[in-house]
């Protein structure tokens, strides 16, 4: 079936292109309904990736956070209209030791190949998961980033020592909000403290045990473990503060993406015997766990709905540009495209 793909061909330019979907192959055809814009999409859209990266990857359809409805399943396991989340990580091999999202051979939507900005998306059977009935669609749209937090927290649970009286989370943006919310949900007996630079944003973190501006942290503050959700230019100072305040043998989970290498005070990492680990993306198991949380903790979905920002109806290529431009100028929250292509 001829399928329309809306690819970024150059910074700030989307163009209509086509591919052919084999209706009788192994893949399930899903029609996107709600798509969510991520910072990684913005880096392509604004041309903030290195020129050689842009040259290699474009043209490419953006977006790796999204849900849709099943249009056609050649095996009939999914019914037309089923509300599903699409998993962007696409492994091509199995490894008993290494998670699918860390296999160097895995492909990722909107990074290594076409993302979800298409009329229809053909996905491998294990890349589609049914969403709970009645779920808030705008929240479900960014299930992917939620599953990234879930993934990092699951790894944290495996790696960090068991004294978890207090965890500090750095970052008051979307990732900080989602991670601290999920952290409280997964570790309800642990005190969660969030550190940021925007007082009004920190006020929205009412579900944690405390918040604090990064320049007003009490000297005697300490925590057992920490999670960094800052990224970018703020990475260095955030990691430095974490090293300063964390207790010996604590674990630091790094989630913020930085385009450039970040200097780290390794002396104190050595002296305190700290563990530092990175997490990126997520796999099917993390999506399953996230959906499980949606079902068991509906209040989590309610809190997540507070970071739904602009919802832009997309019927034309012009609307796509409008959504991305609005997202650039947003002060807070996730920009959602209601996909009506």
């Amino acid at each position: 079936m001829l399928n329309t793909v809306y690819r970024l061909t150059a910074p700030r330019r989307f163009e209509v292109q086509f591919n052919d979907i084999d209706l009788f192959g192994e893949q399930i055809v899903v029609r996107p309904t709600y798509l969510s814009i991520c910072n990684a999409d913005q880096r392509y859209y604004q041309g903030k990736r290195a020129p050689e990266v842009l040259k290699k990857k474009l043209p490419m359809a953006l977006i790796h956070e999204g849900i849709g409805e099943v249009v056609y399943d050649p095996k009939g396991e999914f019914k037309p209209g089923d509300n599903v989340v699409m998993i962007p990580n696409t492994p091509v091999e199995k490894d008993d030791m290494i998670a699918e999202n860390y296999l160097r051979s895995s492909k990722f939507r909107g990074s290594g190949f076409d993302g979800f900005m298409q009329d229809n998306v053909a996905l491998d059977r294990d890349r589609v998961l049914l969403l709970p009935e009645g779920i808030n669609q705008k929240v479900a749209a960014f299930t992917e980033i939620i599953s990234v937090s879930v993934h990092a927290l699951r790894r944290f649970d495996e790696i960090a020592h068991k004294r978890r009286n207090r965890i500090g989370i750095w970052g008051d943006g979307n990732l900080g909000y989602i991670t601290s919310l999920l952290c409280k949900s997964m570790f309800p007996d642990t005190e969660i403290f969030v550190f940021g630079v925007h007082e009004e944003k920190l006020e929205d973190f009412s579900f944690v045990d405390g918040t604090c501006l990064v320049d007003k942290i009490p000297e005697d503050f300490s925590m057992d473990h920490a999670i960094e959700c800052v990224g970018g230019e703020g990475s260095q100072s955030a990691i430095q503060q974490i090293i300063d305040y964390i207790n010996p043998e604590g674990t630091i989970s790094i989630l913020g993406v930085s385009e450039y290498p970040v200097p780290v005070e390794t002396r104190m990492i050595l002296e305190k015997g700290l563990r530092m680990f990175g997490s990126s993306r997520s796999g099917r198991a993390d999506f399953e766990k996230t959906i499980d949380i949606y079902k068991k903790n509906p209040e989590v979905v309610e809190y997540l709905s507070n970071i739904v920002g602009a919802v832009v109806k997309v019927r034309t290529v012009k609307d796509m540009t409008k959504a991305f431009e609005m997202d650039i100028h947003k002060s807070y929250g996730k920009t959602i495209m209601k996909w009506e292509k």
């Binding site: 079936m1 001829l2 329309t4 052919d20 249009v71 056609y72 009329d119 229809n120 019927r315």
Partner: protein
């Protein structure tokens, strides 16, 4: 019930046209008509897809559906009529004989040679036909439209471009309504019909406009097929 009605030409060799109809030419490795039918096939809203083609092409079209769409029962191939509107009437007659036609029977009529139609256009057609009884798919005219004098060498008028649109398909209707309107036309009126929406316009019935897509192009000339092939291959 909702029916996809694929108009695959009512003329062909009977009109002395020895060229292979464009809907049977290959586009990206598959006949154009297969691409078009696939769009209807995956849309769950359609209860049945009726393909109407010249009698001499019925078996070939059936074979294509068998080969590319596994002979799915959702698709039927029948003979078209002598004109576009007679072909549409044939589809309604088929529906009446097999399923019955009532007020909720919707037909979404579409050119077999427009394989780039989108899911949105189809769904908006269905919704508009349900609500308004008839709809046409159009895009705003990109070029200025010039109306010529009767003898054809001079400008008679240049209509306001902001109100001009180019007609595409699908055109969708409540089947009973379009049949009754068509049957109420005189033979002379029937001859002046370029398409089915004109039936409604002649009778003063409202026709809702669904926004099409520039790329929902009609493959009429060899040039169009080249453009379509280029679009599919992404070599531009």
């Amino acid at each position: 019930m909702i029916f996809g009605v694929i108009l695959a030409g009512g003329i062909g060799s009977r009109m002395g046209n020895v060229e292979k109809p464009k809907q049977y030419l290959n586009l990206g490795g598959k006949p154009v008509i297969v691409h078009t039918v696939e769009k209807f096939f995956v849309n769950d809203a359609f209860d049945k897809i009726i393909i109407l083609c010249p009698d001499s092409w019925v078996n070939h079209t059936k074979n294509l559906m068998k080969k590319y769409l596994h002979g799915d029962e959702k698709i039927v191939v029948i003979e078209g009529g002598s004109t576009r509107n007679e072909t549409i009437m044939n589809s309604i007659q088929y529906i009446d004989e097999n399923f019955g036609v009532d007020d909720d029977t919707i037909i979404v009529t579409h050119d077999a040679v427009r394989p780039f139609v989108t899911h949105r256009i189809l769904n908006e057609n269905i919704a508009a036909a349900k609500e308004y009884g008839a709809c046409d798919t159009v895009v705003s005219a990109a070029d200025t439209i010039v109306q010529r004098t009767e003898e054809g060498t001079m400008i008679a008028d240049i209509p306001d471009r902001s109100r001009m649109c180019q007609g595409q398909t699908p055109q969708s209707f409540k089947a009973a309504k379009i049949r009754d309107l068509y049957n109420s036309l005189t033979a002379e009126e029937k001859e002046t019909l370029p398409d089915a929406c004109r039936i409604c316009v002649l009778k003063g019935e409202p026709v809702y406009l669904v926004e099409g897509e520039v790329f929902n192009m009609k493959i009429t000339y060899p040039y169009d097929l080249q453009v379509a092939e280029t679009l599919v291959k992404g070599e531009y």
